[in-house]
Symmetry: C2
Subunit: 335 residues, 2 copies
């Protein structure tokens, strides 16, 4: 049995999902030989610590840790002080400066701890720096949950298609935009009307610009380019056009000609823009679904679709990353 002590940094929607999933799957994971114990959870109010394992029932009903924190330690202090071998980083994302996640990841990797994250910001700002830290300290940096949520895109490209040369990846990487475009096309309603509906349903934020201006999608393009195409690009290298200028008339004209309009991120083209997609294309998915088409030399084009967001779904991608750390070996390592 491999015992792994874990620190969770960040206790928002995804953090709650992580606690729930680790708790729910504890016995199944033990059956696989993996005993995962969450020994600390931290948010902006403080930290709850228990070396025997945090009681999920005790904290899941709490929106923040304010009422249950046993220590005032913040993220970086916890990472440096606590004897965990793996850090799950799920603090709020900031793709301009990457903080506070960037500090957390640097501390963890430098300290020889694996990092698993859904936090795009630090990877957009400093992917190659973080990757080098991981390699230098002989630990893993895993980030499936940063792109396409539950859609196993990184794992597919890095592991399953490992013998292939990947020519490119195109896809729908933002569920909010896809929902708005889907509703505009279905009901022939203007952008602002569909946005307002999405906001009412909690699918779009009160300030939707991060999604609808294409910023979120562009961040994912940066991560994919650096992680899967050995590029070394910044956010500003991506050419970005969002969906705010799309009219129902444009969608209806496209439909007449057998197309839909989707916000497509493209690597290695490094573009994000509303794009005509043939209606019959596998990447044409509707509602909040995400999709990605991976074009390869041997396997043709493989397309994967799934939910782009959600507390449990994102936590599931994080869990999958954790398991892969302990199930994947470099081929020549054990021979």
């Amino acid at each position: 049995m491999k015992e792994v002590k874990i620190s969770l940094i960040g206790y928002g929607i995804v953090g709650h999902g992580v606690v729930e999933v680790l708790n729910k799957k504890r016995n199944i994971l033990k059956g696989l030989g993996l005993d995962l114990t969450l020994i600390s959870v931290t948010d902006h109010t403080g930290t709850i610590l228990d070396d025997k394992g945090i009681d999920a029932d005790k904290i899941l009903s709490e929106k923040t840790l304010a009422n249950v924190a046993t220590s005032g330690m913040k993220g970086k202090e916890v990472i440096e002080a606590i004897d965990s071998e793996l850090v799950i980083e799920v603090t709020p994302t900031n793709i301009v400066h990457g903080q506070p996640g960037l500090d957390h990841m640097e501390s963890a990797l430098s300290g020889g701890k694996h990092v698993v994250t859904s936090n795009k910001g630090p990877l957009v700002v400093a992917f190659n720096h973080l990757k080098k830290l991981a390699v230098d300290n002989d630990v893993m940096l895993k980030f499936e949950a940063t792109v396409g949520g539950t859609m196993p895109l990184i794992s597919l490209a890095e592991r399953t298609l490992i013998g292939n040369t990947i020519y490119g990846i195109k896809g729908i990487f933002n569920g909010t935009c896809n929902y708005i475009l889907t509703r505009m096309a279905e009901e022939s309603i203007p952008y602002l009307h569909a946005l307002s509906e999405a906001q009412d349903m909690g699918i779009a934020e009160v300030d939707p610009s991060y999604d609808v201006e294409g910023v979120d999608t562009a961040g994912k393009v940066v991560i994919l380019a650096n992680a899967l195409f050995d590029m070394s690009i910044k956010y500003s290298d991506v050419s970005v056009i969002g969906i705010t200028g799309i009219t129902p008339e444009a969608l209806s004209l496209a439909k007449k000609r057998g197309y839909v309009v989707k916000l497509i991120g493209d690597v290695p083209a490094l573009t994000v823009r509303p794009t005509l997609v043939p209606a019959g294309s596998p990447i044409n998915v509707s509602g909040t679904l995400n999709s990605a088409a991976i074009s390869t030399d041997l396997s043709g084009t493989i397309t994967v679709t799934g939910l782009g967001a959600g507390s449990i779904e994102t936590a599931s991608a994080i869990l999958s990353d954790i398991i892969s750390i302990y199930m994947t070996k470099p081929i020549d390592f054990y021979f």
Copy 2:
């Protein structure tokens, strides 16, 4: 560097693809630490042997091995006599008795050799028997290429989604049927007309019954049920209806109501039948594409689509399986 000597049994379309792909990817694989050497290739005419590695250029232009065979040995003799640690089994499939592949796989697994295959027959007839042989002899039986060709369904379900409970898998597992149904819907042509077109294009066999009666799809349902759902079922446990009774009128009626008709295999329902699928569903793919929707407890529904067949594409799935043998470890094995 891990050196792996490989015997290839079967030298039809897929076998040619395997030789081509192993040759093409040799240096990339060495970069991963994996030195794959094909030391024998066998078909019904005999065997070509070279312990230093078969010269791909010498045999790729040959339709059979008749002109280049250096030995009269057949599959089982080769497996028993040759010092390979991995056998690629790609002989013609027979889902009634599984031969000759079943004998080949039994010999290889019993002799402590890994088996990687695209051959459905032996797995449909004797999956649990073969799986037990593999476990008893501490080797791997890998069969991604048997279901959905290049679509990484088994790997997704077994590895990437390992923390998930899989509720079910529904999909389009036969490219020939999908092509026929797609053309019938597009052009409002009768079944026999579309079949004839598919035959002209080499997409359907002269005797198409294996595909159009649902036999091939049902075989894949058997493999998925036994491999991913711990079932122990036979071909006769699957309820099968093919596509020969579908009319263009039915397709056109479905279309009016926002549906398409696809031949869907369903596990664990153990059914194969023409099914109404919402036009916007991610499993609605056209032409010869395959698709599969995996519904899970944590990740929602993940859908994957890709080419269901093809020489290089199938060989790519075989290569992916080979790599995974040497890159995947049981979690508790090394601790």
